[in-house]
Symmetry: C2
Subunit: 343 residues, 2 copies
Amino acid sequence: MPDTSWIAVDAMGGDEGLAVMLAGVAAARRRHDGMRFFLVGDEAKVAEELKSHPNLSQHSEIVHAPETVGSSDKPSQAIRRAKTTSMGIAIDLVKQGRAGAAVSSGNTGALMAMAKLALRTLPGIDRPALAAPLPTLGDNDVVMLDLGANTEVDARNLVQFAVMGAAYARTIMDLDSPRVALLNIGSEDQKGTDEIRDAAAVLKGQTHLPLTFTGFVEGNQLARGNHDVIVCDGFAGNIALKTAEGTARFVADLLKRAFSSSVRSKVGFLISRPATELLRDHLDPNNHNGAVFLGLNGIVVKSHGSANERGVATAIGNAAKMVRADLTRRIADDLGNFEKKAA
Amino acid sequence: MPDTSWIAVDAMGGDEGLAVMLAGVAAARRRHDGMRFFLVGDEAKVAEELKSHPNLSQHSEIVHAPETVGSSDKPSQAIRRAKTTSMGIAIDLVKQGRAGAAVSSGNTGALMAMAKLALRTLPGIDRPALAAPLPTLGDNDVVMLDLGANTEVDARNLVQFAVMGAAYARTIMDLDSPRVALLNIGSEDQKGTDEIRDAAAVLKGQTHLPLTFTGFVEGNQLARGNHDVIVCDGFAGNIALKTAEGTARFVADLLKRAFSSSVRSKVGFLISRPATELLRDHLDPNNHNGAVFLGLNGIVVKSHGSANERGVATAIGNAAKMVRADLTRRIADDLGNFEKKAA
């Protein structure tokens, strides 16, 4: 049983640097009383930066790591330096049971490879998947997976992703029987690849799992709030996630341009600013930060590389929630039940 | 040489029905003087509806089709009814050289299958691809292909799509050497599938084609205006296109909600309405309607199933532009040069 009050933070990962990471941890600490943090990185630099956060320094411990994984390092290179890098050591603290979760804003491929090697997959899982909650028009976020860990998958992988995604939604979003859909290029039965159609057939046939299979969903329905979990391979998931991010930014940029196109529209913008700020808040990726690798013996959370202080705090808050809800055991239980009934 | 002043319209396809199709054709006719139309469908119904458009009726000819392809008909069923359906007969008018292009708002899979069977692919092309211009922040639209015609592709297909997409951009957007990128889940060389990496290697190696290969592009860059053509398989393309549509609608819905959240924001909205209307106009899919199957011996344009009158008119206008620019010959020439130099 890991120590659930500790979270291991890769203090050196991410585009924004150590200062932003520590400011984010400090902000998370203020929100989540009782959490404690391993700050993994260059000891001297972390200690220096920590002076700005006396509140955090009382509740954290620095763990020295002589090296850092670079953003362009190949996963195969990174895993050879698992014992010396801040990312590798943070994951190792989870493996040792000293921390309930590891959080990193570093290189996704390296994080995945290191986490898989150190923590191993849960029984019955071939490949872990990267899952994250995304905003919708409905009351709840929608959990989407895989978001880029597995470029190619088979039907069995997709079914496992569905079971893991549903366990995540039950645990984190308090849903009894999450509505799970497969991402496809049409809603009709014959659409898509063999892998997707085969996975749909398996999910349709199951009646003993705590999930409701809702069939195929197209890209234009992701944010409608009609599904709780959306399952796809990592290539399609990454394309959809990044296209959604890019389109939201595109519309915001057009809006900015439109609002500054005349004096009249500038006045209108100033008057309605509280409304547009609400919108910006709803769409800000820093408010939805914290993807998790599902299917491992331990919780590893990927924070966005460009996350700001608030984004890092959100990711750490999500990690804390997963640890407290005992997400890993819940997923293992659901997978065990699925394999048993399916056998 | 097809008769370039005639366009064959599948008057019965689309979710919105015959009235919207004919109103769209009438609107296109007002914009494009000199165009003439074959209106293919149930003769009595088309004649009745045509009474509302005296301007159009002078410049069109009704071609009777006893049947219609349904939105859920399988392509394999549809092609057996090529000679009796409005969709099949419209394509046949192109094959006969009586029309320069066919336009349909009907079932995409059936349209693709019928068009491929009737018109055949250009020399050197294994599979046609569905291409459409999408809005960007830049001065030009970006052409994206394939948008759903081919679920799975190999590297050779992707290279052909790049050549065809560039020929389209040269012809329709008047660019000398369009910037062509491959859609991928990262910009680094090792990212993505074997097919994408192999296609990148071929495109990098070419120096004799009128295009500039710009490498990999991620989903968040589609609308930035940094590329003229984006190439992908039909699965990823369909996911990206529909996710972009859905996200734009999502943001617009959030904006509506934000603007109506208080009296103050409602007032601001009313004042800035001209600006928000500019935005709506820029994003309205009816202003970007008209995807084309590239790689066939003839022009077949797919109008969005839910296109309104303006959307249908846009699609027909795009078809007219492709016919006048002799798009099919330009693509065949570029493909011929590519094959010759590559040999």
